[in-house]
Structure formats: structure tokens, C-alpha cells
Point group: C2
Chain length 424, copies 2
């Protein structure tokens, strides 16, 4: 394949998320968008016009049926930002057509579906990437780099959350055709574990020497969305009768095979400033996102006193080399640059047929958290087992991928980590 040839990509699910990513992808210059798909025809038409604007000279076709699209188009990759419920089924169909899917963040529907993702990859050999953009956040990558270089000693506990006031988006989802509405109305679970858990899985070598064994999950009462509706729209709005099932705060604790614990928080129905609530704690120190601080035993200047994390991020000794390079070249793209990086990582995998940094086993491990938290909550916070999607291979190290976007190993070519041979 010519080095500068662009990959042929489709976009499925043309809501608000795809819009930003369509533009960011055009800045990478790595792909042409040749087909777009959504069940709503108005969105297809809108997006075709955006493709014409952002990808001049590219011929793009529109579809309202993704199966028809796979039959008719010659695709190499597909970006999936449909409703959560349909990520897996479209990704499975894509793999069966030899098209590599990038699934946007979102929880799975069932364990069975997570297994089907894995089985389809193993049968077809088509890779599948979970597009966890926060794995490429500057804070998260600096922490990943510092953990792999031992600054936290032996890590014992991590925390993360999706702590985001989405009240407006949720309660008016009915009018705006947004799937959050139906989910919050009918289910109680951690709907959105990926932003917190994706980076933590890389911190803790999940599916690469470690795995998640079990979890318990507990939901608070669900009253904040109703309070919001009453306040915002008054008593005459019919929505004030709605009884949302999703607990306002869902707390989940995961235990790992190597003994680490992970605390996940899903907190999207209450008024609050945004946070991903990151925390990493080890025998050598602690990082905490909520006060933007770090403390490292023997490195921090004053005993038991926080230091600003910013000064560590700004130091190439600690910062992840991908970010040092990215900042040097001028940060581009949405969400502080992480969208640009995650799309670049995906395109590199498609083009060079690499195992993606968040692969199908990681995708299944992330997505299964949603049905498992639902199960635990339904059973009074009973512990539930988390499957080993690797089929017993989790305690072996994956063969390293030599890529600057790698997350399982830190920038292997720079640190001279050589891929192992089969017999090692």
C-alpha cells in the first residue's frame, strides 16, 4: 500500500458526536469518507454536505441501512457513533465484511454480545478497535508513562468516573432523538464506564498480564432528573410524570487478578462541574485529578503535601513522548487533542494491519461492565464475575506493537522494547 494512500472509511450514526469526529478526521489527512449511514435520512443528507465541504473531491454515498452499505461499498474501515445499543451489532457485521470497525464509547447490551464481538474477530481475523479517546488524554498518558516507569511503585488502587451534568441532554432526549433518554428511563447501570476504565485498564495491564475478576455495583435513588424537570419546565410539562430508573450516582468496585481495586463512578444526573475523577495510588505515591495534584514519596519536595500535576506534565521526564511530540507539532482536534490522536491511532492500525491499542478483548472487557453493573444492582449489589474474554491468555503479555500510539507498552521503539518471538 502506498504510504500516503488514504483509507476508505464509512461513518455510521450521524448524531452530534460524529460531526466533530468527521472534521477532526479530515485534519489527520489519513482517510477519505466514502459512505455515511443513519436511520434518519435528514442526518444522512446533512452529513453528505459536510463531507463535500471537509473532504473536497471525495465521492460519498448515503445509506439508511448499514447492511446495504456493507454490500455495496468497498470499505476498509467504519467509524460507529450510533446509539449505544447498536455499536456491537454494526461492528460484528463490519468484521464479517472484512471492514475494521472503530466503536465509539458506550456500554454493551449483554455478555453474549461481548462474546460475539470476540468470536467474530477470532473467526474473521478482522481487527476491531474501541475508540476510547481518554486513553489519549494528556493527563492519562502522562500517568501511563509514569506508571510504566515505576514512579508510583506497585499500583494498588485506581479510581475514575464519568461525572458530567447531562440533565438537559437526558430529559430532552425524547424531543432530540437521543438514546440516553430511553436508557435512563428504563435501566439502572453504569452506562458509560469507558472514559474512566479505558485508561485504568492500560494502567493495570488488563488483558496483558492482569484481568478484572469481579465487581459489585450500587445505585443511589433516582430523583435528580425529576427535580430538574420540575424546576425547568414547570408542572404543566408532561415529562414531569416520567419516572427515571437510572440511579443518580452509581458506584462500582472492581477487583483485579493481581489484587488491585478499581472504583468507578457514574454520575450524570446531578448538577456538578465535569470530572473524570481520576486517581492512581501505589506504594510510591498518588495522583488525583480532582485537585490536579500528585504526591510521590521521596520525589515531592515536602512530606505529605500535594504538588501541582501540571509541572509534571510539562516535564519531558514524566510526560508521555507521544504528547511531547504532539505539543511540539501543535495540538489539533477536539477534546484537547485526544480525538485527533485516537483517530490517528485507528487509521494507522487500518493502514498497517496492526493490533489496535484498545483491541477487541479490551472492547469486550469495557462494554461488559454495563450489563454486569445492571446485574449486580438488580441483585442487591451482589458480586458478579467478569468474564475472561482472552480465553486464558490474559496472564501472557501481548506481542508488542511497535507504534507511537501503543498503550500496552510505552512507545516501544523509543524505549527499545523488542517484540517477543513466538517461542520466547
Amino acid at each position: 500500500m502506498a504510504k500516503d494512500r488514504k483509507i476508505r472509511m464509512a461513518f455510521a450514526g450521524l448524531g452530534s458526536r460524529h460531526h466533530g469526529m468527521l472534521e477532526v478526521l479530515s485534519w489527520t489527512g489519513l482517510a477519505d469518507v466514502v459512505a455515511v449511514c443513519d436511520v434518519y435520512a435528514d442526518r444522512v443528507e446533512y452529513t453528505i454536505n459536510k463531507v463535500k465541504e471537509w473532504y473536497p473531491g471525495v465521492t460519498v454515498h448515503g445509506y439508511t441501512d448499514y447492511k446495504e452499505m456493507f454490500e455495496k461499498e468497498d470499505l476498509e474501515a467504519i467509524y460507529i457513533s450510533t446509539s449505544w445499543a447498536t455499536h456491537a451489532r454494526i461492528a460484528i457485521e463490519a468484521m464479517k465484511h472484512g471492514v475494521m470497525p472503530a466503536m465509539e464509547c458506550g456500554g454493551g447490551n449483554s455478555l453474549e454480545e461481548c462474546w460475539e464481538l470476540v468470536r467474530t474477530y477470532e473467526t474473521t481475523g478482522t481487527e476491531c478497535m474501541f475508540l476510547e479517546n481518554c486513553c489519549y488524554g494528556r493527563e492519562e498518558m502522562t500517568i501511563l508513562n509514569m506508571i510504566k516507569h515505576g514512579y508510583f511503585g506497585e499500583v494498588v488502587h485506581c479510581q475514575g468516573g464519568y461525572e458530567h451534568d447531562l440533565r438537559n441532554e437526558i430529559v430532552y432526549g425524547r424531543e432530540r432523538r437521543h438514546y440516553r433518554f430511553g436508557n435512563y428511563l428504563n435501566k439502572c447501570a453504569d452506562f458509560y464506564p469507558a472514559h474512566a476504565l479505558g485508561p485504568i485498564m492500560k494502567f493495570l495491564d488488563i488483558n496483558n498480564g492482569n484481568r478484572m475478576l469481579s465487581l459489585t455495583s450500587t445505585a443511589s435513588k433516582a430523583v435528580s432528573l425529576h427535580a430538574y424537570l420540575e424546576k425547568e419546565r414547570g408542572e404543566n410539562y408532561d415529562g414531569t410524570d416520567l419516572k427515571f430508573k437510572e440511579g443518580d450516582v452509581v458506584s462500582t468496585v472492581i477487583k483485579c487478578a493481581r489484587g488491585e481495586t478499581i472504583l468507578l463512578t457514574h454520575d450524570t444526573s446531578c448538577p456538578r462541574p465535569y470530572s473524570r475523577g481520576g486517581r492512581v495510588q501505589g506504594t510510591g505515591g498518588i495522583w488525583m485529578e480532582d485537585n490536579a495534584s500528585i504526591y510521590l514519596d521521596g520525589i515531592s519536595k515536602k512530606a505529605e503535601a500535594w504538588e501541582p500535576f501540571q509541572q509534571y506534565m510539562d516535564d519531558p521526564k514524566y510526560e508521555h513522548p507521544l504528547w511531547t511530540e504532539f505539543r511540539g507539532s501543535g495540538v489539533k482536534g477536539g477534546h484537547g487533542g485526544m480525538d485527533f490522536l485516537v483517530l490517528s491511532a485507528f487509521c494507522e492500525c487500518v493502514k498497517n494491519k496492526l493490533r489496535p491499542p484498545v483491541d477487541v478483548y479490551d472492547a469486550a472487557s469495557l462494554m461488559c461492565i454495563t450489563p454486569l453493573t445492571e446485574a449486580s444492582i438488580s441483585c442487591g449489589s451482589a458480586p458478579v464475575a467478569i468474564p475472561d474474554f482472552t480465553g486464558g491468555r490474559w496472564f501472557e503479555k501481548k506481542t508488542p506493537v511497535v507504534s507511537k500510539y501503543a498503550l500496552d507498552d510505552v512507545y516501544p521503539e523509543r524505549y527499545d522494547i523488542k517484540p517477543k518471538t513466538e517461542n520466547e
Copy 2:
């Protein structure tokens, strides 16, 4: 009883904690210390000299057997700061002698012992107070005041922790006769839930219209104390062979009858700055101790942006009136003033025969968390039921105590809350 007569108090357990409290109590001018007791004779002798210095003119007797002390002395109250394992048994003996105990913070040994505390109170009629000083912290009291006045709307979730680097105290406890050593070596539980849970119980009306129903608890691996010993003392110290059982971070999630969730963290074996990790979240806003910030929907100036909590604490509109008064009179005593307040509250209850702000039902509810977390951890984080120590009365409001130290109702005489009669 003459208004200015001092109560006759004993001190049991003469380790480091009692020392500060003995001096702070002398500043209150509310009590005479007439007897002191410890199993170590050297500590008894040391403390007798301190009493002579801080309580001039008071005759004090020393004991190494608390039962002998109860037989021989004419006491009204006893302050208990022995090892955790003996708080309850001494308090029970005290109540049987008509002596009101103040138990220092610490977890219970068993559910049965918590029940025995309750039964002894119900049989003897002697009140018993759990000396949770953090209930009187300025942050905690401001939050209590704000919750009771509705600024957080309906509260749905609280967090708290005991996050304190105690590595030195724990691993050298053997040499220093400190009971933490044996506990960390042999048990895995949340040893110290009170600083976090005490204030939260008051925030959520526990045993006063609400109760804690069940919990799950999960412990991380235990590696930090060993890493500390290896680093501090080198390989030749015999302590480096010690295998501590206590997980480095213990995460516990409690579900309440009214639907709130409580997250407790016990984190005392890793290097870190001190925190009690407080968080309160409701339909109206959020307070977070770790970034010293608050956000209130419709009150905070900018949408989804934190404001410094200090400016709320400094405003008499939000600050608890006890603290406004306390600051006006010049804050005294240890731990930022909370020790002075909690001892003053205790002395007031003894003198005026009042139900204490943290009473025997609250004490049992706090102390049972330790054996229950141990049970849950032992059973793979299985949910365990939390007893209703009130015998079915938890959903009735307690008769308010008209006292400026009251915690179940906010400063009732100022807010004109009248005690209910029996028939109301």
C-alpha cells in the same frame, strides 16, 4: 447541680491520644480528672503528673485495672482512649456503674458487642457517647447546616474516608506498644470508619428518620507496608518478613433506607497527604473536600464551575452557628477546635443528663462497620446487612435535644425547633 460544678471524670487508656485530650479538657473548665487508668504502670505515673500540672488542686488516683477503678471511685463520666478492642467492654462496665462513657473513635470487634452496648444502655439508662470529633469540624458543621437548610436539595450520595499515611505508626507499633500493629497484621477491614461516616450519618439522618441497610466492601492487595519496611529499615530488620493482612485501600459502599449511597475509603498504608475525602451530592449541588470546593445549582455564579468552599464557611448565612460563635470567642483546642467542641458537648450531656449528639445507637451503627466490612471482604465482597440497632424506631424522629451542640437538629433553640411531646 450547681451550674459551675465540675463533673468527676476518669481517663482510661493513656497513650498518645489521651494526652492531648487531657489538656484540651482542662481548657473547657467543665471537668476534674479524678482517676486515670492504663495497663502500663509507667503511663499511669506519667499521666498523674500531667493531671497535677493541668488540673491544679485536684486529687487524682491511678489504676492498672479499670474494674477496680469503677469499684473504688465515685465517677460521673469516663473518657476511653484505650486500644480499639477494649472501647466497648470498658464502656459497658462504665454504664453498669452509672458512669457515662465517652468512647474514642475506633471500630467494633463484633456485631454482638455492638448489640451489648445498646442493651446495656437500655437496661441501665446510662447514656453513652461516641466521641466523633470530626462531627464538630468546621467544614463538616457548615455542610450539616447547609444540608438541613436545603442548599443541597435532596441528598443522594455522600463520600468520606480515612486517608492518612500511617505507615510509620503501624509498622513500628510493635516497638511502641500500639494496637494498630496487631490489627494490620491479622485483619482486613475498614478499621476506622468513624471520621468519615460520623458526619455523614448526621447529614443523612441515620437513626433519626433513615438507616443504613447493607454494605459491600472490597480490599486491594496489601503490599505498601512491606515496601515501606524494606525501604526504611533495609533487609536486615526482622520486620521485613512480616505479612500484613490489611489491604492498602479498602472501599466500602453502603446503601441507606431512603435510597442514598455512601462511599467509605480506608487508606492508611500508602504515601499520601491527609484527607477525609468528604463529598456530598444532591439534586441541588455538590461539595468536595479534595479540591476544597462547592457547586450549587442556581447559587454558584458560573454554570458548572467550582467555587472555593472557604467563602461559604466564612459567611454566617452558611456557617453553622456553633462555629460562628466559637470563632467569635477564639477557637481553642486540638485538631482545629473540634476536640474542644466534642469534649464540651460530652460534658454538657453528663452535667444535664442529655441524650448525647452521637448516642449509643449511633455508636453501634458506626462500630459495626468494621466487623461487617471484614465479613464482606471475607466473602468476596458479598453484600451484608447492617443491623437496625434502634429496634424499629429508626424512621421516627428522635426527640430533639435543645443544645447548641446538637447534631440531629441544627441548633434547635435558635431555629425555634420545639421538642415534641410523647403524644405528638
